[in-house]
Every structure is written in C-alpha cells, then in structure tokens.
Subunit: 351 residues, 4 copies
Amino acid sequence: MIRFENDYAEGTHPRILKRLIETNEEQTPGYGTDEHCENARTYIRKACDAENADVHFLVGGTQTNMTIISSILRPHQGAVAAITGHIAAHETGAIEATGHKVLTLLSEDGKIQAEQVKELYEAHWNDVTHEHIVQPGLVYISHPSENGTTYSKSELEELSKVCRECGLPLFMDGARLGYGLVSKDSDLSLADIARLCDVFYIGGTKIGAMFGEAVVIMNDSLKKDFRYFIKQKGGLLAKGRLLGIQFETLFEDGLYYEISNHAVEMAMMIREAFVEKGFSLKYDSKTNQQFPILPNEVLMKLGKKYSFSMWEKVDATQSVVRFCTSWATKKENVELLIEDIKKLEYGCVNG
Amino acid sequence: MIRFENDYAEGTHPRILKRLIETNEEQTPGYGTDEHCENARTYIRKACDAENADVHFLVGGTQTNMTIISSILRPHQGAVAAITGHIAAHETGAIEATGHKVLTLLSEDGKIQAEQVKELYEAHWNDVTHEHIVQPGLVYISHPSENGTTYSKSELEELSKVCRECGLPLFMDGARLGYGLVSKDSDLSLADIARLCDVFYIGGTKIGAMFGEAVVIMNDSLKKDFRYFIKQKGGLLAKGRLLGIQFETLFEDGLYYEISNHAVEMAMMIREAFVEKGFSLKYDSKTNQQFPILPNEVLMKLGKKYSFSMWEKVDATQSVVRFCTSWATKKENVELLIEDIKKLEYGCVNG
Amino acid sequence: MIRFENDYAEGTHPRILKRLIETNEEQTPGYGTDEHCENARTYIRKACDAENADVHFLVGGTQTNMTIISSILRPHQGAVAAITGHIAAHETGAIEATGHKVLTLLSEDGKIQAEQVKELYEAHWNDVTHEHIVQPGLVYISHPSENGTTYSKSELEELSKVCRECGLPLFMDGARLGYGLVSKDSDLSLADIARLCDVFYIGGTKIGAMFGEAVVIMNDSLKKDFRYFIKQKGGLLAKGRLLGIQFETLFEDGLYYEISNHAVEMAMMIREAFVEKGFSLKYDSKTNQQFPILPNEVLMKLGKKYSFSMWEKVDATQSVVRFCTSWATKKENVELLIEDIKKLEYGCVNG
Amino acid sequence: MIRFENDYAEGTHPRILKRLIETNEEQTPGYGTDEHCENARTYIRKACDAENADVHFLVGGTQTNMTIISSILRPHQGAVAAITGHIAAHETGAIEATGHKVLTLLSEDGKIQAEQVKELYEAHWNDVTHEHIVQPGLVYISHPSENGTTYSKSELEELSKVCRECGLPLFMDGARLGYGLVSKDSDLSLADIARLCDVFYIGGTKIGAMFGEAVVIMNDSLKKDFRYFIKQKGGLLAKGRLLGIQFETLFEDGLYYEISNHAVEMAMMIREAFVEKGFSLKYDSKTNQQFPILPNEVLMKLGKKYSFSMWEKVDATQSVVRFCTSWATKKENVELLIEDIKKLEYGCVNG
C-alpha cells in the first residue's frame, strides 16, 4: 500500500531527526527556556521580518487553537470562523470547552471574505438586542484552508483592514502554512502574514516536524502572560528544547520551504494527472491536498494499491476523496500513481 | 401608547400579587424548602399526572436552560437545537459558557423534526472521525417555539421515540408553555409532555408570574444532585418561597390555563384582523405571539399609538413585526387596535 | 417558634410591597431599561457620591459574585479571598465553574488584611515558577464579613492602596452591606466604599428587599459590556423593573439605613443579653448576626421556643450558634428572648 | 556545570531514540491507532496484570490530569488532593479552568491518608448546607508524591477501600511512577496499583521518554468516550505512533524499571552523602528526588559546580534544595558530587 491519506503518516524529516540525535545528551533547562528555543525564535522573527514578535512553541493544532483563542476573548465573545474551519468542525468542541461560541460564516471553499466579517459585525451591533447575542471577539482563518485553498495578499489585506476597523484580532491557523507560502496560488509571504495578522502559527506537525506549532504574536496587547495560558492548557512541554530543535532546523536555512515545495510539487503532479484524465476537482487547491471527484469504480481500483481519505459522498456513484503529500512523499510513488491514473478507463464520468 | 411589544411588560397577575401580600409576614425556611414550594410541587405533579417527578423552581429562562443542560451533558457533548432556538440565538452564549456547543438544525418555523435528529445522530456515528466532532448529548426544543408554532402530540411522540432510541434526553423549554397548552393548534397536554420529555420547564415569567420557571424532571437519571447545580449557577433564591407562592397560585385552581387562554384569545383576535385585512403572517402562530408582515406605512401609522417589536426586515418596503399578548392585555385595547387595522388603507400590499 | 435563624425568612419590607402593588399595572420595557431602574441608579449614585458609577441590578448573591468575578479575570487568574469568604466556602464552586481558582488567605474573623494581599502578591511574582501558578487577579472581601465583622475606614484604605499598587481590582461583596454601614464598629460610608473599591454590590435580599443586589462599578475599565455578562450568567431579569422599584424604594429616602439600623439595634440587644449572662461570643460582631458560644443545655432550652442556626461545634459540650435579625424582627420577640436568656441557669459555663 | 536540577534535562534514553530512528520512515495511521500503540497497550496491560484495562497515550502531565479529571467529575464536584498536589499547586489552575474546584487536604509529606478522605467526605454529607458546597467527586494522589515520598501497599489499600465505600474514584498521578515502583520504601507493584486505583498514569517524560504519559483506566464506568476527551483537551497527537514507539520500548523488556532503578540508585548515593555529612533531609524520599536542608555557604559552594533547584527557604541561613537524578545521570558525576560533599566544612550545621 502506497499512502497518500494524510501528511503525518511518517516520523520526521531526516535533518530534524539528525539534530535530535546530535543534541540528545545535551542538558538544557525546561519549558522552552533553552538556547535551541531561543535560536528558533530568532530565525522565525527574521523569517517574519518581525523583530518584536513573541514566539512560543506548542505541541499540536487543537491545543494551539484553544490556547490562543481563550487567551484573547472575554467571556461574552466568540470566534468568527468559516463553517468549515477546524475549530468549528473538527476539534470536539475544544473552543466551546473554554467557554466560547464559534460564530460561523458560510463558505464554499473554506475561506471567508472581508465583506462577510463586516456584515456579521454590523448585524451584531445594529441588533437592538445585541446584549443577548454572543459578541464577535476575533476572526479565525486557516491558510491554506482545510480545503487546500489560499488567501491572496489582497484578500488578506482587506480582511485585516476590516478586522482592524472592527477591533477584531485576526488569527491565522497555519497548521499547513508552508504549503500556502509556496503555493503558486498565493502571493502571501510570512512577512505579509506577520504584518496583517495579530497572531498566527507556523505548523510543524504536518510539515516535516515530529510535532510542534510555533505561535507568533504580533499584537502587543495579546502578548501578556501567554506562557501562563500555555501551561494551563497543558501545552508547556517539559522538554521544550525538542520544539526548539525542530524549529531551529526548519528555519535556519530554509528547510521549511524546501519541504513545502517538495510536497506541493508532488501534489501538483497528481492534480495534473486527474485533470488531464478529465476528472473534476472539488476544490481548486494548489497546495499539498488534492480533492478529485471520482466514480466508485475508480476508487475501488486505485484503493487496491493506494490509500487516500474519503472526504464526502457526492451521490450514489461518485465521491470526493483527498490525496495528500508531504516531505516523505516519494517521486517514484507519485509516478506510479500517475501511470495508474492514465490507465483508468473512466476519464469522462464527470463530463 | 398601548403596548403589545412583549409578554413581560407588567408586574404580576392580581391573584398572585394578593397571595404575596397575604403571606408577606410568614416566616419560612429558605432556598425552596418551605411549604409553599412543597404545595406547588404537589399541584404541578398532579397537573402533569407524574407523581414521581422532581420539581424545582428557578428564576429565569436563560438560567434554567444553562442549569439543566450543563447538568446533563458530559464535556464532549453538545445540545441539539433549532438554529432559531433561544439557546442558540439569544442567550449570549450561556450554554457555551458552561463548556458545550449548541449543534444547530435548520428550521423555518422554529421547530425541529424527529427525522432531523435521527440524521444528525447517524451522521455523527457514521463519521469515522467522530471522536473529533462534538457528540450529540441531548435534544432541546421550545414549545411553543420562539416563533409561536407548536408541536402536535404525534410530532412530539416521534421526536421522543427517536430521542429514546438514540439515548438522547429530550428537554423542552416551556418559557411560554401555557400558550402552547391552550393553543387550538396543539393537542399536547402537560401529561403528554411529562410522558414524552425527560425534563422540561413550565414558564412563569411570561405567563402571569413576577418571575419564575418550574423545572420538571421526569427521567430518574437526571434527578441526582440537581439542587447543587441550581446553587452553582446562581439560581437558588434565598427567599425561595416567592417562587413557591407564585406557582401554588398558578396551579391550585387552573389560573395558569386561565391566563393562557385569555392571552391566546386576544392574540387570535389580532391575528384575524390582520388576516382579514389581507396581510400575510410570517409564522402560522396560534399562540400569544403574532407575526404579521406589514408595509412601512402601516408600521408608521400603527406605531404612533401602539408599541410592538421589530422582528426582521423583509425588504425595503416591509417588515415582520411581533404583537404579543399576556394576562394583562385588555380587551378594549385589542378592540381599538382592530378598529385601527380595519381602517388601514394598505390591505393588499402582500398580494 | 420565634425565628432568628436567618435574615431572609419573610417576604419584603411593607413599603417595598406597597410600591410593587402601586406599580403592578404599569407597562415598562424589560431587562432593566425602565424608569424605575433609572431612578434607582440615580439615587444609588447619589448615595455613593459617585456620579460616574455604573449601576446594574441582579437577582442574588452567588449570581452577582460569579458575574462580576468572571467579567474581570483573565483565564489564568484567580480571586484572592478569605478562606471563610462566601465564594470560597458556600457557593458550590460557582467561581471555579467559570474557570477560576479562589486563592484563599487564612482568616480568623472573616476579614483579610492589606499585608496578606501584599505577601501573596509578592510570593507569586517572586516565585521563579510563577507561570505554573494561578496569578492573583482581583481581591474579594465581604463587608460585613460572613462572621459579622467589619472593615474600618483605615483598614479599607490600606487594602485599597495595596490593591492599586498591585494592579488588583478590589471587589466588595455587600450582601449585608447596610448592616456594616450602620454598625458602631465601622466608620465606613457608602462614599468611602465607592472611593476605595473598584466594584461592589449593595445587598437587597438580606436587607428588606424581596430579592436583588445592586452592583456599583467604579473602575471605568470594568464597565465595558457588563450587561452581556449579566445576560450570559442568567441574571438579566425580564421584568427588571421589579429590581428598580425595590432599590428606588430603598434609596429614595433612606429606607435602606432605617432597616439596617433596626436590625442592628435588635442584634445588639441580643448580644448584650448573652454577654451580661457571661457567655462568650465567637466573633466580635456589631452587625445583625450574633455568634454566642452556648452549652448544649442552653441550646436545648432556647431551641424549644426560638429557632437559630448551628454554626460550628466547639467541643462535646458547647457550640457556636447564630442569631440573626432583620427588618422583620419584632422588638417584643427580642425582649422575650432576652427575658429567657436572663433566666438561664448556665451563665458562667465559659468562665 | 553538572546538572541535577530536574529529571527532564536531556532528550531521551538511547534505546528509545534508536527505535524512533528505525521506525522513522514507516507509514502508520494517525491519532494512536497504529500498531506501535497497540503493542504498547498490550505490554502495559501485561505489566499491570490487567487485560481489561483501557490504555491511552497523552503528551504531558498537566494535560493528562485535566483530561482525566474533567472526564470524571460532574459540574458540582471537585477533586480531593493534598495541598501540595501538582493539580493544586503547579498547573496554573488547569483543573479550575475545566470548571472544578480542587478540595485540598493538609499534608506534611505530600501524601494523604484514608482517614482524611473519610473525614472530608463525612463533613460534606453531614453538613446540612452541603448543596452549597462543592461535592467531593474523586480523589487524586501522586505516587511518588511531589516530595518523593511513596505510598505503601497497605496505605493504598486503605485509601482505595475508603474511596470505594464513598463512591469516589481514585486517580493516581504517576508522572514519576517508575521511581516509586523501584523505591525500597514502597512495596507497591503496577498490578497492585491497577487493582486499587480506578485510573492512573505511567509517566514517560520524567522516566526516559522524550515525552508521553500512558493512561490506564481500570474502572469500566470511566472508559466511555475517553478519546473524545483527549481530542477536546488538545492531547490527541497526530503522529500518535511516537507515543506508541516510546512506551513499546519502555515496556517490552523492562527498560522502564531499568531506568528507574538507575536513577534511584544514583539518588540514594547522593542522599547517603548528605546524611553522613550530618545534613537533614526535608522529606524522607527514597526516590529520584532528594531534599537536603543546606546552609547558604554550602549552597554557594556546591552551586559553582552543580545545578540543583531551590525548593523553599527555611530561614535566613539555610534552605531546602532538590537534587534530581534520571536515566541520564552519570555515575562519575555523582561520585564527583559525593567527593565534594565530603570535603564540605559545614557538616554539623543542622545539629
């Protein structure tokens, strides 16, 4: 079985593993106060062109989302998010468990637009009963989105502008941030993101690290006491240096981009193969996740040799599935897959 | 100004006031352990044909909803409700503040159907990633709904059946329960409700009491330690006898129904007047709330003499508004309103 | 049975009842936006010599405590309180249910001193692991305390000074505030309290009202969005005018002080009788609660005719009990009690 | 600088590192459903002599404590713990953040006794106002305690007996469990613990793993839906196999005990040296943490060459400090330390 089902099926990128081995016997202080974490912070600030940023390291995405969001909101406020957003759909109510509603906006592609935020904000404040309604308190976006789509610089600029006008901190979930940064689709750089968001995180788990997410806090008013929140939410790793070492390796000489580029390149090859064969794509993703709509016969045929994940049933005869790539995706396996796609006899089913 | 804007504009029904006066100097133990509360419990159990019911008295609706719901759910569970449900829309996230998501179902009329619950339940358990999704933990309905619509006995029977099959306690918000009980629309009795729901409450605030909601717990497994929850959520009134006295008066000889009948009768007169004049109704309510769709000119004209509440804009020329009646609505005022409706010159605007 | 067991055994002061009757048919807007609430706010601001104060009305003490405290604290902060404080001991974890630890200080008499707050604050910040410890976020005191003791002006000034130096909002629970204001023991006025506290509440339930607590917010930074919090915690009464009418009556011409004076006068008579007979008092209360230490035989003898509450066992032969007075305590009953105390044959048991 | 300041200063035991390297390119499903996790579960069940145990893997201690405790308690219940317990003192209110009070018991040595639990339980239920007080809902103990002390089999049997009589689940925090299992002090085996506790965890982070805690649920009623809780609290690691691989290695052939034995042996050598020199120990620990009371001059002298942590000031001239050992503690470094202790000129300061 050749696996394309997710981007966390293997351990970690060999260069990270190497560094973990090299540093294993070093003695460091705990809880993220060691030199590796300090180095990683310096590299990340530089990559973000943001020397005043606060940088913290947490273990996983849900933990990071709930820690950040609950640190920002007051009790009567909620987080505005796309209805498809990870916090709205796939975190077992982690945000609600901290006391806050997720205020959802409709979205076809996983993104939300400035205009939607503006409308929700105005609807709230224009409602005479607004004190009976959860107040919007921040805006959550994912880049790339859960569907592989990305924000353009102008889209993010508009969103950021509206958020600032409304006094709503803008938080970007970057669990797969690298794939967005290198996507042909998006002209957004890390420095743009740092400039336009109040807080965001740079995902490690899905981009070559064993685990780990690097939170970057840009807005000074959100920086205070953040380490208390990490501890309270169970995210302050005793051996914090493990996170430092990983992000040091990812950011000291561009490994983060190298990994991201490889995965996206592999994904685009897969995309091309499906498109050329005449299959439709559910979402127009130029990142490491691809969502072809495939007839059942194709699913069965490909499923014998390759693993991928079921996304959603379209009707009795076809479904959306997801193919994922990562640092570990081997080109020869992608080529095998492409060969097999070419050989399929069902190319025009969506036609 | 003659007010039809809500059903809590006045103090309390004269007979309740009289009893509060008569008992004012009595000395009783606190926190709902007095004889008046005990009497009220007995009357309510009898009215519900449910001698094993636990009956508790709380002060207001939001408090009652959050106390009941948080007492039932485990941390990973949510409350299934219509998207228009009070807990979903108008309680400033009180449920989320106790840690739980409200899982919303679409609804045009404020009600939800058995089939919708079944689908949501099955969708959850059939999703292979269900551990990443909030688990449905109870079903919340309002009767009458926030839009004045009611459940029929067969509808509630189906809903109850599905809930029991799915292991989901069924909780009925009865903030305006009396108006539902006397509605020509619904054949549901208190005894039916007690038989079909796991827990519900009988609203006092909006049906003649100064304040107060009587919680009736039918399902034995939900009874344990309920007084702790009331205390923790700030609902255990020191002078609990005030609640006992009010519900004693409402239920000892049918005052609750008398009040409800009066209000619904007044509301139906208003409804008829609008309908006869050719106006449409947004919701088909046979209870104490009426939702005519009126053109701006009519709103302005009626608004000079009568108060009512804006519900929702239809378009630039017309809006849905709400007229409410209560124990305190005077027939002569309703007749004045009807006269004025008849005189309107805009009868066919919706045609 | 003549009852001295608490200060909420009866309904409400006759003048309040009269006003509720007079206003019963008035139509007012809901949720505390009516004229009675507005009048009450004006009277209270004047009584506090604080024209910029925000004044809100809630229903009960636990509700008020949890609403205020959770509105102030960030998630990693706790409320500093005496170990005997109501929020620490008798609210079923209502504060913890909003996510916050109560950080307790030892107290013999129910009060805390400036020095204790300073020490806790410094201990926190001097601990190198302080990010692993709940951060003190506000200071909660009760005046009078749960034991009937009161703060002097100089004590409150010192406490306020330390709190301001430490950046800790000072919150006074005034469930029995009136009794403290008129106590011979304390030279604190409402204006002093308004000047020295960031937020406090004026208790109604235990001082002649049917129910109700008036929150006074002095610190501008705590005022924002407070009505959202009231709604979310279930404290926004639909018929809010009931609260306005009660506090209007209590504060328009000094009824609040009149009630307080009467109760304290009655309590001091009871205190004198016990002291003259040679009994010790557990706490040196000059307010409406008295805590004599009585041998079992005395308890049994008095218990036949009078009700009072058990406070705590001293040893096998004697216990602390509580006698409470209120607006409703009749002088003739107090005189009867005093007669019976004089006749007791156990006057020197504590000697 | 030779470091004895904690037991998480290095990476991971070489055998674990080796296995992480060997398995790095394997493709596995995520979230703890892989074969390594399955193997680890089998080994742990066997080590616990508990084939029906549910075994889950989480990342860190605070996360594990809050996940377990919030999964067990209902909203009005609290966790009974020693005042020195980690959840009471050093987790930034993580338990309160899930809505629950920690009910503390006094403790000199970090342990609690059956009798104390019994007393607290009875005090609660005998208090007529118990509905106003947080109900004890489970008992939390640490073995070894935060002070290095351990429970004997008979102590745990008594505690377990009382807990079962009271209906209170017994939860053991085993962040340093291995050191307790091999301590000469304690006759408790893993099988005993599994038999006597309802739920416990086997700490990895402080016993040779990179990170990770293995939760063992014995009581069937606590097993339901536990993976939802892990996800909601941010503990469900995407690359769950990392946890599986580590615990597989620790438990397949006794590495967990080997590591524990080494660390405790090193600690006992240090203990002996201090004791022989005449220093007192604050706690009588036979585990990997040692707490000598040392005069300032000694602290300064040793501090130049060795790192250790300040525990608590005794007075102006001396303090309690902590020396910790682990898998990574080198015997030659311990011998150096012992030499230096022997050479100290302050051996009888505590005499």
